[in-house]
């Protein structure tokens, strides 16, 4: 409980809230697009590198491969659960539901980063390779979403145009955030603590401050989305946006228990499973499922599930992981 309150009063959450409020109040406060992208590059660079260094320090755990496997399975599987749930609780079309479902199988790296920050503040260790798990969970959900759309769509038109699909797989696997995250992870792994020593004052000390600024921006974007798409948000969708992360986290918990992750690692795998993509999947959906309404999936992911995880989810997952791990 006090964890939750602490969390709500951390600068991270408060800057996100500031962004949301500013956008809802129609303030002209904005972060330039180039700055937002650069902050995002910085976070991927730092989190990937630190994960790699941690793996190089602790050695390759027997659980590493299992975790990668679990992540892949979760990312493939969660969209099916999400799709089923959406068809029951909302009136989204097959295509819209498939697109939304894809977001929930994939992950939000900044949610992951926020969770690692909470762990650090609480002094709880975690497996460094979960960064690699985060990377591997980005893409499989997209394939599930496309498969669902193709399978269940009664639309005469194929949901995915052959021309558009050409190259889509390559694009997904080589999208910038995956490449930078994995690349920085491998470089961190290769250079280890020596490498870290060289760039530590760039990627460790200022990290949380940069994250605050980025969360301010995320709040602004989420708030603008909520303002312009609030009419799309039926009750069922909002409920889904808060229920699905809990379901995802439960699946993540089960996987973590099977693998035998630490308390911190369990909380992180729960967070990954609970989080919804807001960068890679939306772009892939615009290409592959153009008829799906972007306002719905973007608002769900960034306007509902992201703040839910940031405020309620992460402390909840950490409490559960601690309880189960104790």
């Amino acid at each position: 409980m006090s964890l939750a309150v602490d969390n709500l009063l951390s600068p991270l959450i408060l800057f996100f809230a500031l962004g949301v409020l500013a956008a809802l109040a129609k303030s002209d406060l904005t972060v330039p697009e180039a700055a937002a992208k650069t902050l995002s590059l910085y976070l991927l660079f730092a989190i990937g590198f630190k994960g790699g260094v941690s793996v190089s320090a602790h050695g390759i755990d027997s659980a590493l491969l299992l975790s990668l496997l679990a992540g892949t399975v979760l990312s493939f599987a969660l969209p099916f659960i999400a799709f089923g749930l959406l068809r029951v609780t909302t009136q989204l079309s097959v295509t819209d539901a498939a697109a939304v479902a894809g977001h929930y199988g994939s992950i939000s790296i900044v949610t992951f980063v926020a969770a690692t920050s909470v762990l650090e503040s609480a002094g709880i260790a975690s497996e460094g390779y979960l960064v690699a798990v985060a990377a591997i969970m980005e893409a499989p959900a997209i394939l599930s979403a496309l498969w669902i759309a193709a399978r269940f769509s009664t639309d005469a038109q194929s949901p995915v145009d052959a021309r558009d699909q050409r190259g889509l797989l390559r694009e997904i696997l080589l999208n910038g955030s995956i490449v930078l995250l994995v690349g920085a992870f491998l470089i961190g792994f290769a250079t280890g603590n020596d490498g870290l020593a060289e760039i530590e004052s760039f990627i460790v000390a200022p990290f949380k401050g940069v994250l605050c600024l980025f969360l301010l921006d995320m709040g602004l974007v989420a708030g603008r989305g909520l303002r312009s798409s609030s009419h799309q948000l039926r009750f069922g969708l909002i409920g889904f946006g808060m229920l699905m992360p809990v379901i995802g986290a439960t699946a993540g918990l089960a996987a973590a228990q099977l693998i035998g992750l630490s308390v911190g690692g369990t909380a992180l795998l729960m967070t990954l499973s609970a989080s919804a993509s807001y960068i890679a999947v939306p772009a892939a959906m615009r290409v592959a499922l153009p008829d799906a309404n972007p306002a719905i999936y973007l608002t769900m992911s960034l306007g509902i599930t992201f703040p839910f995880n940031l405020t309620v989810g992460i402390p909840l997952y950490l409490s559960v992981a601690s309880a189960v791990g104790a």
Partner: protein, 103 residues
């Protein structure tokens, strides 16, 4: 100045489709085009802005291509195959160009 009649085609298309559109232009043998950034806009899908965005989804770009009149049909067919099911708008204007030998 010695000018030649030509067509100016302007395509505003969602950013995730940019590489597919330019690929289609290349395949259609279009001699040249220029991509301009777009800050925001409004349409049937509502108001949007690039400010603070990280994902390319939800952004657009503008592509301008100046072509000889006889090539405009081929260009539009290539473009249409890409934009058909996507968010985007295409307009064609008559224009005069300098240095037609370059086209």
């Amino acid at each position: 100045m010695n000018m030649t009649r030509a067509k100016r085609v302007e395509i505003i298309i969602e950013a995730p489709m940019e590489s597919r559109l330019t690929g289609a232009l290349d395949t259609a043998g279009v001699t040249g085009y220029t991509v301009l950034p777009v800050l925001g806009g409004n349409g049937r899908n509502g108001r949007w802005t690039r400010e603070g965005q990280v994902s390319s989804a939800g952004g657009m770009v503008a592509i301008v291509s100046v072509v000889r009149a006889e090539r405009v049909e081929g260009l539009l067919e290539a473009v249409f195959a890409v934009v058909e099911r996507h968010i985007g708008i295409v307009n064609v204007t008559d224009c005069d160009v300098l240095r037609a030998e370059r086209f």
